[in-house]
Each structure stands twice: as C-alpha cells, then as structure tokens.
C-alpha cells in the first residue's frame, strides 16, 4: 500500500489575479542601500544599537529589543563562521522554477552544479546572512567552520559584489 490521496470532482473555474507587480514599496535610506554601496570598497558595514551594543549586519534601523532607532554605522570583519548550511542535489532542468522561469534552462544556475548555502555570522556581529559557500566540497563543510568573504573581481557597489564566502585558512598543530 502506498500513498493515498482522495480525488474530488473538478468544478468549473473562473479566473482572476492579484497584481502584485503593480505594488510600490519604500525602504529606509542609509541602510541596505549604504551597505551595498560600501561593497565597492569591499567593506561590510553594519549598524550598532546603542541600547544593547548589538551589531546588525545587514544594517537594521530599529532594534526590537531596545525599541529604539539605530543610526550608528560600523565596519565589521570579513571573517565569520558557518552557523547552518544546506546542500542542493546536482541541479537539473525543471527543478528550480521561480515565477514560471526555469533557472537552469535560463542559465542562472548551471546544470549539474551543487550549491551550498551557508548561514554566516561575521565576527563581532549579532546577526546572520545567507550566502553561498564557495570553493568547498559538501563533505568538508561543518558547523562552526571559519569562512571569509569572497568578492567579485570588479566591485561596483551592487549586492552581487559579495559572491559568497569560502573556507578561511586553518592553523593546525603538526
């Protein structure tokens, strides 16, 4: 016996839409935009809450714990640690479809590649970011692993300048 799903009669359908693409939004000036601008100089900045001393990367505007606005900016380390990670199976066509676009077919992702996604906390910060973990085999990834930021050859101040992270040097006693 396998999986059982009850089937129900199909009745007529009528169509309609929710035009989400017609929405406009607002973001605070001086936070994610400034964070990204600093990528041009290969710098990672965050905000420092004067209430609790936490450093948020990417920058946050309101600290929920202290219930106050954060305006102070600080530069943080390029080194961090892996808090959690995911590993994709080798990618195939038809497996990653976003808003009707097949990401492999369209060439955004390569056929057969395996992607490791890491949740990274940069040193001295209280928050985390999801970044691809590059130049590492899935078998070699472990929690708490030290990683460093990998930048594009030419940084132009865009989110994509920060390609991901890669394993940092490890010093071992031999």
């Amino acid at each position: 016996m396998g999986l059982i799903k009850e089937k129900y009669e199909k009745t007529m359908q009528v169509e309609g839409e929710w035009n989400t693409g017609a929405y406009r939004y607002k973001a605070p000036e001086g936070y994610l935009d400034e964070f990204v601008k600093n990528f041009r100089d290969r710098k990672i900045i965050g905000t420092l809450c004067t209430g609790c001393g936490r450093v948020y990367v990417p920058p946050r505007e309101i600290c929920a714990r202290c219930f106050q606005k954060i305006t102070e900016k600080v530069e943080v380390s390029q080194y961090g640690e892996v808090l959690a990670f995911l590993v994709s199976p080798p990618l195939e066509k038809g497996k990653v479809v976003i808003a009707g676009i097949d990401a492999v077919q369209a060439g955004f992702l390569k056929e057969g590649e395996r992607i490791i996604l890491a949740m990274v906390r940069f040193e001295g910060t209280s928050s985390s970011m999801v970044l691809p973990l590059l130049n590492a085999k899935p078998e070699d990834v472990r929690l708490g692993m030290r990683v460093k930021a990998v930048w594009a050859e030419k940084c132009k101040g865009a989110l994509s300048d920060l390609l991901g992270v890669e394993p940092a040097f490890e010093v071992k006693f031999e």
Binding site: T11, V14, E17, W18, N19, T20, A22, R24
Partner: protein, 151 residues
C-alpha cells in the same frame, strides 16, 4: 534621512477559483439563455446566483432548489461610471461612460450588479425594466451574458 522608493518585481499572482457545483449549473444555464436562482424551501427566499446556504435562514440548499427566472428585472439603482480601475491600481477616464446598475430580477429576492447597454446615459432611471442581452452563441460561460438593456 528619507526613503528609497522602488517597484515590486513584475509578477502577477493568478487565481482559478472553483465555482462549486451549484454555480456550475448557473453558468450551464447561460447556454440556454437562462438565469437560474435557488429558492429556499424553508423561508422562500430566492437568491441569484444560486448558492448552497440560504443567506437569510442558513438552510442548506442544493441543485434541487434551482428555479428558472424569466430574466427580466428592474433597476434598483444605477451609476454612470466615468473612471474605471485599470487593474494595476490606476484610474482611467472612460471616453464613453458606462452604466452599471443594481438589478432585481423578477422572482428573485437578492439583486445582482450588471452593465446596462443600448441606452443613453440620460435616459436611465431607477425602476426601469431591463432584459438580458446574450451572446450570439452562448456556451455556458460567464461571457455569455453581455449586459442588460431596457425592455
């Protein structure tokens, strides 16, 4: 400090709502140029389009409650629409204003909202009698019922 304004990604969420069996019958009636309503056996309220629960006494209804209406109706209220939504949140000014009315169909207790055509906007009045105008070849779809006209 200010804000950065930006647009949402170009994505439209689409829906295909199941109408359920009784509404399917309602649209099926369109193929014969017929408007079906549901008459509650308990309180006598007649609702169009038909539905499975009486809006007045909550009695259960089904296909056996369907009754045929003659299609004629009376305008309870109307409005001349000069500005229409474009589906993206904007308004477009109509070159030719359109009329929409609340119509009570003969034999029904509820009302429907329908376009009124073949009439000068100055001539439309509440209390006016109207009849449906059907597509040339009705197929049992929503688009079969084009609009209502005085008659």
């Amino acid at each position: 400090m200010g804000v950065v304004r930006y647009e949402g990604l170009p994505f439209v969420a689409r829906f295909r709502w199941n109408t359920g069996k009784i509404m399917e019958k309602f649209y099926g009636g369109f193929a014969e140029r017929q408007i079906l309503a549901a008459k509650c056996e308990n309180c006598g309220y007649t609702v169009v389009p038909p539905r499975v629960i009486c809006p007045k006494c909550s009695s259960k209804m089904n296909e056996n409650n369907l009754v045929k209406l003659d299609g004629r109706g009376v305008v309870l209220s109307y409005t001349v629409v000069r500005k229409k939504l474009d589906g993206k949140g904007g308004f477009v000014t109509l070159d030719k204003p359109e009329v929409i009315a609340a119509v009570k169909l003969n034999g029904a207790d509820s009302m429907i909202f329908a376009k009124i055509g073949d009439v000068d906007v100055e001539d439309i009045k509440s209390g006016m009698e109207v009849v449906p105008v059907w597509a040339e070849k009705p197929e049992g779809r929503l688009s079969d019922l084009l609009y209502f006209r005085p008659g």
